[in-house]
Amino acid sequence: MTDTTLTILIVGLLALMGVGLYGLLAVRNLIKVIVALQILVKGALLALVAAGAASGQVNLGQSLAATVIVADTVVAVVGLALAVQVRRTVGTLDVQALARLKK
């Protein structure tokens, strides 16, 4: 793998992670939060693949990535199911409004 490819990959994964993190920090809608989390994890996936390729352990990197895809899908499914339930019982998807449930 050439240095240019690696650079492109790193820039790409940093961009994905940045977008995901920004979303997690700024977004208030629960669905959007889950979307942001997915974007963040996709960045991490890309990082795994890139690291595997760069260190010559392509198999390791890709099998780790496959594992993360499975786990991540489960997270998304459970998260969305929770969001549906939250909307039904509380009537809102605003995470700041949900924080009031603490009291």
């Binding site: 939060v33 995470v95 949900l98 603490k102």
Partner: protein, 585 residues
């Protein structure tokens, strides 16, 4: 004979018994009683058979590997002796329980915990590895907690249990830190390796370990300033108080100090600190026992006070005296607690103000209780007399004079509160309408055997000393045989001084009506002692501070997802910064 099989048997038998009693189920109480008695007696027999084979070599080594090292069991004199105390007093307490706990709903839980405790205590004193010792140390603390809180629908019992658990675990941290530091510097958890090579540790590190162990010992043995948990522990069923909070677990702290004395005696300030801890506990607790109204609490304070004598003895270099007093105290205090248990079981209250005149209704309990009380007061020729005088003599020859003077005054206070207790419970006019009845055979067996022990254990001083001296190569004990003990004690000026003070203590109680003016003059002291000398206040402040801090910190838990993510990102950035800086450096 000491081989790996007997060691496994000694720990395994009570634990197996615990499982069997548990699985028997509470629908068959007779079978549960029988199983518990059989297994505890078997463990007692195995422990006694181990005594002739005491050795300073590890007889059982379990190679766990990794950072856990090897778990070894060393049945040396100190360990075997305490294992015998734990199992023999344990089986007597179990026999006593057959009657005391009759009709109790959850016998399975009770006996399982008692037997689990006995096995844990045996493991604690026999283990030759510091880490393993810590594990067993916490097992005993856990059993103590669960048994104090046995009546778990009584909030006082639960609170007492939690308090005991928190304070002893806090002290246990000192033991863990000490063990890990020793491992870090020597690469071994072996107690004997450490005792042989303690001088190679840097002085600062050694003193950290020494004071860590002192904190652990003070918390476990309920010494000042950690003593406040023991009176609260009196909510436990009385056989538990006799077994765990008088005869065995509370001795673990004294055992720890005695075991590591050769390594720490050179640490500057350590022996002085030990003397002060023992002294403060002995005298303050004696004053508190003098004003206590609850029979069991009075006994608890007296336990703290007597443990103070043992700690003091270690501090002045009298390791043998401290262990000899430990033996005497384990026997006579178990007797006193079981006697108190028989009284409480019979009349249904622990308040001494309501008792009085019970001696006529329960002559057997009265007689055995008086034997125990005489030993506690330190009157000849009972076991408490010889061992307490030995402690005082060690204090006179090896410690500061002012400490000795205070300890002798403490002995006078002991005599005074002991006779107050006996008088309030068994003599005088009945102060309330209490239905009292004489005890049954199971209680009589336990009380009788312990009373016999109180009269006779001091005769064993010769073999006891030989066993300790032969298997503790680092301690250089000053041991005595029976003839030397008698002549040394009877010729020592400390003995006569102490006996005179004890007589004054007795006289003070006898004429306490005439001394009313003095008593009123000392009223401020009594009120201060009733308030636990302010230690309870310190406890409450610590609890309040912890709770206040925790409540203030809830403000950081916004529950807002964005803030949580910000926290995670902040933590990540901090870790990255630290890594970068560490690389840069």
């Amino acid at each position: 004979m000491a081989n790996e099989f007997t060691i496994l048997l000694l720990i395994g038998l009570p634990w197996l018994g615990a499982l069997l009693v548990w699985f028997t189920g509470d629908s068959r109480p007779r079978f549960q009683h029988l199983l518990a008695v059989l297994f505890s007696l078997a463990a007692g027999a195995v422990a006694l058979s181990l005594i002739p084979g005491a050795t300073d070599q590890a007889v059982l080594t379990l190679n766990v590997g990794g950072i856990f090292g090897a778990f070894t069991f060393v049945p040396d004199g100190l360990g075997v002796f305490l294992a015998a105390v734990a199992t023999v007093v344990g089986s007597l307490a179990v026999i006593f329980s057959v009657e005391y706990m009759k009709g109790e709903a959850q016998l399975g839980r009770y006996y399982a915990l008692v037997l689990f405790f006995i096995g844990g205590m045996v493991g604690l004193v026999l283990s030759g590895s510091l880490l393993l010792m810590f594990f067993f140390w916490e097992i005993t603390a856990l059993c103590s907690f669960a048994l104090i809180a046995f009546n778990n629908d009584d909030p006082k019992a639960v609170a007492g249990g939690l308090k005991a658990l928190i304070i002893t675990s806090l002290g246990g941290v000192g033991l863990l830190i000490g063990a890990l530091v020793i491992y870090g510097y020597t690469g071994s958890y072996e107690v004997n390796d450490f005792l042989a090579g303690a001088a190679q540790l840097p002085p600062d590190v050694l003193s950290l370990v020494a004071f860590g162990f002192l904190a652990a010992a003070a918390a476990k043995s309920s010494q000042v300033p950690f003593h406040t948990w023991l009176p609260g522990a009196m909510e436990a069923p009385t056989p538990i108080s006799a077994l765990i909070h008088a005869a065995t677990m509370v001795n673990a702290g004294v055992y720890l100090l005695a075991r590591f004395y050769p390594a720490f005696e050179g640490v500057p300030g350590w022996t002085t600190a030990v003397v002060i801890v023992g002294l403060a506990s002995a005298c303050l607790a004696a004053l508190m026992a003098l004003v206590a109204q609850d029979l069991k609490r009075a006994l608890a304070y007296s336990t703290i006070s007597q443990l103070g004598y043992m700690v003091y003895a270690v501090g002045v270099g009298g390791v043998f005296a401290s262990q000899f007093h430990l033996l005497s105290h384990a026997v006579f205090k178990a007797l006193l607690f079981l006697g108190a248990g028989a009284v409480i079981h019979s009349v249904g209250t622990r308040d001494m103000r309501q008792m009085g005149g019970l001696g006529q209704k329960m002559p057997f309990v009265r007689n055995t209780f008086i034997i125990g009380a005489l030993a506690l007061a330190g009157l000849p020729i009972l076991n408490g007399f010889w061992s307490k005088e030995l402690v005082l003599e060690a204090g006179l020859s090896g410690g500061p004079g002012w400490a000795f003077a205070l300890m002798v005054i403490g002995a006078g206070l002991t005599a005074c509160y002991t006779f107050r207790m006996v008088w309030l419970v068994f003599f005088g006019e009945p102060r309330a309408h209490l239905h009292a009845h004489e005890t049954g055979p199971a209680m009589k067996v336990s009380l009788g055997l312990l009373a016999f022990g109180t009269l006779t254990t001091w005769l064993l001083v010769g073999p006891f000393g030989e066993m300790l001296a032969e298997t503790l190569p680092h301690h250089h004990l000053h041991i005595l045989d029976l003839g030397e003990l008698i002549s040394e004690i009877l010729l020592a000026p400390a003995t006569w001084l102490a006996l005179a003070v004890i007589a004054i203590g007795l006289a003070a109680w006898w004429w306490h009506e005439r001394l009313a003016a003095v008593r009123d003059g000392l009223g401020f002291l009594a009120r201060w002692a009733e308030a636990d000398f302010g230690f309870e206040w310190i406890n409450r402040q610590v609890v309040r501070l912890t709770r206040g801090t925790a409540e203030a910190l809830t403000a950081t838990q916004t529950g807002v997802l964005n803030w949580n993510v910000a926290g995670i990102v902040g933590g990540l950035v901090a870790v990255l910064m630290i890594l970068l800086l560490a690389w840069g450096a």
